[in-house]
Amino acid sequence: MAEKAKDKTYRLHLMVCAGTGCVSNHSYEIKEALEKEIKKHGLENEVTVVPTGCNGFCERGPILVVQPGNIFYQQLAVKDVPHLVEEHFLKGRLVSKFMYTPPEEKKPVPVLNDIPFFKKQVLIALRNRGLIDPEKIDESIARDGYKALVKALTEMTPDKIITEITLSGLRGRGGAGFPTGLKWQLVRNAASSNGGGKYIVCNGDEGDPGAFMDRSILEADPHAVIEGMVIGAKAIGATAGFVYVRNEYPLAVQRLSIALDQARDYGLLGSDILGTGFDFDIQIKRGAGAFVCGEETALMASIEGRLGEPRPRPPYPAQSGLWGKPTCINNVETWANVPMIINRGAKWYAGIGTETSKGTKVFSLVGKINNTGLVEVPMGISLREIIYDIGGGIPGGKAFKAVQTGGPSGGCIPREKIDLPIDYESLTEAGSMMGSGGMVIMDQDTCMVDIARYFLSFTHEESCGKCTPCREGTKAMLDILTRITAGKGTEEDIGLLQDLALSIKDSALCGLGKTAPNPVLTTLRYFRDEYEAHIRTKKCPAHVCRQLNIYTINPETCVKVGRGCDVCRRNCASDAITGQKNEAHVIDRAKCIKCGVCFDVCNFGAVKVD
């Protein structure tokens, strides 16, 4: 059956996104409905339905791309399927009502490549997204999967591979941006103690809030990661590899397991790979979702079955990693880039990006942005292009205020720096970092003190507690920030916060602690006035910190527009509102607990917040 399907030529390929985002939006139901309808119309020999990895435009899921033609349908529901099948697949008429309409335009855009979200993207790590069924190794092979592996195993020496990676300028996509070629060289040169052996590790412990590129790659193209790891193993001389992936990514774990099994069946993993005499195999290690396990030494401790907490470096994993052996740890995205570099050459790869940062980077766009999703863009692209051209701008026409890059370890970049070309150095310069590629967009309604507090509460929660600065320091900073957002801050607090932040950055043990103060430091740097407003005038300019808000009801609006609808009084949790129908309602400030419910429920804008 499978053999037959392989040879079958179909007129139409319906690429249904089966990334986690779309799956949770019922894309598997869509797939079933499509198959049912197609069969109903007797088209099963002409049209095939293919589940793919994440398409990236998660905001618009569930997504269906029709090939050939690259027709992009979005936000489908099961009930839409019969109509779609009949119109498009049977009668050949495109159905524009399921197409995407960019925010500022009126006409829907039928073709995927014409949609601004996709137009500016350059796909390397995500090259196979939406084009293959990740559970079928053959489709990956058809898209040149394992071609680089053949090249690396038959035509290249380990040194040649490392030279190629070094020349490509590829840097670690996990955050710190350490040159990958150099890392490989270090591991290759490291003498393996006690009995030899080196390890390859793929770090898929993606923990940043709002970041999901590792998950997407593992879901959409697990073979790219496997291939990258085998090439890396050949380069450094490793015989065993581990993929450390969060257990909260069941789909990624499942697809990766399937991919590993298929690769093993094909002899692309295991002993004597492709008959070249090279041995290498990969195991999946599932993490329990501790953020700190994304730190390489903690990750290794976790793989070894020990308490997942970091240890001091040096020794670096390249010298003494898993079980004391030299170990090469790279991020999922880094590994996914490797086959392309080997295939198309370092020169091609180095031609993309900026002077110091080559290639592309995958970012996850989340927060106050129209096009939430996953984008792969060349290094050096400006924030403006990402936010406005790809991301489609801020919803509701609100003003862009800042973007948090690099997750809780990164920092906030303000509006003034919107034309910043993105690469490792420029982001660090701005007080943030590349991180794993999370981008949280914030609009005018965001309180920067509250944002800092949110990220601190995350790092405080996720601190392993080993070293004093991170354990006690994040707590101390969180206490101060909570104090400020509750209107109880003092002038000294800003100074103390700054001291703490700098000292923690200076003295924490691992990357988690060293970067934890970044949100505080950048918000202090760019939005100091907001801190001061919270402390001096006890006001939150964005009205986010409710404890600082003062709610009042405009009697005129209340009576004239709302006719004293009484909804606010009924919803008030603390009986602070008095008034009757058709009369102006009044909030008793002494009783008000500032929960903000009245503001939220008032349909007439009579409740004011100050």
Binding site: Q67, G69, R93, L131, E139, L274
Partner: protein, 129 residues
């Protein structure tokens, strides 16, 4: 499953590529567009479509894009096909039968010679894609 050798990998690649090539969206030397509006289907466009699919399969051709579209506006002369060789103006054929389709495929799509007796005209409007 037996372990693959390097040549096997290449074989799989070639084999699967044929079926998935459609998804790539570029690199075709010709595009065959069967007009499959209600009128077209009623006039037998499905047969034409299947004829082209069969041709592609039996001749093992992979660089020809077979697709369909709606009514071309000349319902009386359905079934219709537009054939567009890369870089050339599209040609419309009308009143097709299975046999005609085979001939057109062989002579025009593969051979590059327009089959004038079935053609409606050259250089009509371009399709969207």
């Amino acid at each position: 499953m037996p372990k693959l050798k390097i040549e096997d990998l290449e074989k799989i690649r070639e084999q699967v590529k044929r079926t998935t090539a459609l998804r790539e969206g570029s690199g075709f030397r010709a595009k065959v567009n069967v007009h499959m509006g209600t009128c077209g289907i009623a006039a037998g466009a499905r047969t034409i479509m299947n004829a082209f699919i069969k041709e592609l399969e039996t001749r093992d051709v992979h660089d020809v894009l077979l697709t369909n579209s709606g009514c071309a506006g000349l319902c009386s002369q359905e079934p219709m096909v537009t054939i567009e060789i890369a870089g050339q103006a599209p040609v419309k054929y009308v009143n097709l039968t299975e046999k005609k389709a085979q001939e057109i495929f062989e002579k025009h799509v593969l051979g590059g010679t327009i089959v004038k007796e079935y053609a409606l005209g050259i250089g009509s409007e371009k399709t969207d894609y």
